[in-house]
Symmetry: C2
Subunit: 408 residues, 2 copies
């Protein structure tokens, strides 16, 4: 199957409509914490608050979303003010005295937990960058660039962050080059940063060299430092939705670089490999984890269907189709889109459920918690809507590519 131009237009309209009239109204304005700043995002299916705590990752991600909508959809004042509230909360409360960020805060901004990772920081980078572009705030731009430098330092300086494992069986995850690549892309495409292009080249090179295995058609989640497969339970565990997120970050880079054919081929084969391993042929949807050799996976939720892998696969298949016009990707996009909007979307209260059983039934009803908030779903709807605008040239607003190439 191919998508006709009018089907692509309809898809773009669908995503934009879902974003602005279904997803976003679930979260805002009610999640703005007028008293302490930041956002109250831990909510049940009907919007009831189940916890007043604030997850630092998601405070940053929500600020990014609001600023990005302001930058790319329309300059609504409430989005800019909403973004500022998150930025202020991050800066007022979420940094420890050693400069690193916390992970989990009380509503008032007291720290509950700090982790041995720097993902709080990467989301703070994209939040500050998008907000700096939206507001013209030079301090936010400086902070984004400074924090990005810290992230690179944490990632490349052995021993700087306390390790979780001994040095007996060294391993590295695809998550680090992936998140740093996407952070660099966001930084470049909002306020610009001369470091980004070369770093992105390095991250892609590392992913291709060490994590993409053509002989077994697989994107590894974790490998030894030399890229070899660690044949133990953890080392064999694959995360298809995550590998496919990596695929679309690379496809996005291909598009940014005037449809670079080498990067299109790399992103598409990553998508192909992990679609084959991740799509559940019996019940539909994307498995959470798989074992590279088909052995039992230890993580208990391995065959559950989570919202975010579906967001990543919807983006990746639509972007792959846009870049290649290969009808296979239109077919896959239809499959994952239909399955996801049928099973995850809450017709009654809007937004998506996060956690389904393998068979697609709802396992629990929270729309927001320590790990889920207004990010993967609205990002997918936003990205796909923007992509369709570009592709069918329907909309006179700035397209993603044009927006991307502006510097601050």
């Amino acid at each position: 199957m191919h998508y006709t131009k009018s089907e692509l237009e309809n898809l773009g309209d669908f995503y934009k409509n879902q974003l602005l009239n279904d997803t976003l109204p679930f979260w805002f304005p009610r999640s703005l914490d007028e008293e302490f700043g930041g956002y109250l995002l831990m909510r049940d299916h009907d919007g009831t608050l189940i916890d007043t705590d604030k997850a630092v990752w998601i405070q940053g991600r929500a600020a990014w979303l609001l600023a990005t909508l302001y930058n790319t959809v329309e300059p609504r004042q409430e989005w800019l003010e909403g973004a500022k509230s998150g930025i202020d909360f991050l800066n007022k409360h979420c940094f420890d005295t050693d400069g690193r960020m916390f992970f989990h805060m009380t509503r008032q901004g007291e720290p509950i937990r700090k982790r041995r990772y720097f993902f709080s920081e990467t989301f703070a980078v994209i939040a500050h960058a998008a907000y700096a572009k939206a507001s013209g705030d030079q301090e936010a731009a400086d902070k984004a660039r400074y924090l990005f430098g810290k992230c690179i330092e944490y990632a490349t300086t052995p021993g700087l962050l306390e390790p979780k494992f001994t040095s007996t069986r060294p391993a590295k995850g695809i998550g680090v080059p992936m998140i740093l690549m996407n952070t660099a892309q966001q930084l470049r495409e909002t306020i610009g940063d001369p470091r980004c292009d070369a770093l992105i080249d390095q991250f892609i090179e590392e992913i291709e060299r060490d994590f993409v295995k053509d002989d077994i058609r697989c994107v590894m989640e974790q490998v030894a430092p030399d890229g070899s497969i660690i044949d133990h339970i953890d080392g064999r565990t694959l995360n298809p939705g995550h590998g496919i997120e990596g695929a679309w970050f690379i496809l996005h880079e291909a598009k940014y670089r005037n449809n670079d054919p080498r990067l299109i081929a790399l992103g598409c084969k990553m998508l192909d490999y992990m679609w084959e391993r991740g799509w559940d042929k019996e019940f539909g949807g994307i498995y959470y984890f798989r074992d590279v050799y088909g052995k039992p996976v230890q993580e208990y939720w391995q065959d559950m269907k989570f919202w975010w892998p579906h967001n990543e696969v919807i983006i990746a298949t639509l972007l792959a189709y846009a870049l290649t016009q290969d009808k296979k990707y239109a077919k896959w996009h239809t499959m994952v889109h239909d399955w996801a909007y049928t099973h995850f979307h809450d017709q009654e209260h809007g937004e998506w459920f996060g956690y389904l059983h393998r068979d697609g039934s709802v396992a629990q009803t929270a729309k927001g918690n320590l790990f889920k908030g207004p990010f993967h779903l609205p990002r997918q709807e936003w990205y796909c809507a923007q992509l369709m605008q570009e592709l069918v040239g329907k909309n006179a607003e700035k397209t993603i590519v044009e927006t991307e190439k502006q510097n601050f």
Copy 2:
């Protein structure tokens, strides 16, 4: 319903037969690592080894099991030698230079991970104590008593172990007094230790005072230091199978103390509260997690059915029935026994699957991994078989109570 004497005899025979002819042969002798010592326990449903790594908790638990069978079922030489292999592996490889134990080892005994808990140590205590009783090894007895002292020190000295959370919202778990109570019981009932009775009193007092909530009929998994409920996602999360494990530790103590009526009442109400909250009325089986107020639980596997809560509930209901003759407990025991042996037991290869979906279908097939091994199921079958022997007076072998009261 009541159990007749012959039904109790049949139950005892059933458990003993399952233990010796179904569960144990799945693991031994093939799991004995002749080359490096210890046990190779990470196995798929058919016994295939899926990982050569060794989980320190489970090395200790398996050594405990083999020594306990030697002590209480029959003095088979291969059980004693098997226990020694695990004890030797623990002592040769599993202690760090600071005296604390590791969590996850390679087959050869190199450390992969150490955690901020002392559960490796508690299982090493019961392994050493049971092995000391079996072998007469004074060094093992000393080690058991020494390590038990260290566990008490870790549990009662603030700041001795690195905390995972800040001090913003202090909390304590029921797991610590529970595991220390059971460790003390094991120590006392194998080699004896004068510290144990008073400590057990303290642990029970803490559980009753801070974790058992009569007003809402609940056993909390986590509370504030003063026993108040922490109304956030983590603080609200209940683990019914764990609470019921705590119930049977207390019922065991009641039995040890000549059927102490106060402790029987406490253990039974804990069982009652968590049966009401934990039993899945729609599909049967025990839920993994529940929220105290019925809100969404964040842990993804919250409604799955895991093997070990069912082992705990089988023990607790049978022990409650033995102590009270309340027909409610016979009914519950039948319900959980039938559901568990129908859904978890692998007719083809023996032992139990570990991880079922809520509806009772198998989610993944591993019988052993970093967290599952020869412990909860064989302990249940052993404990219930011993209990039935006592109750119906059928067997001339030493009963649990007689065994318990011997000192080393």
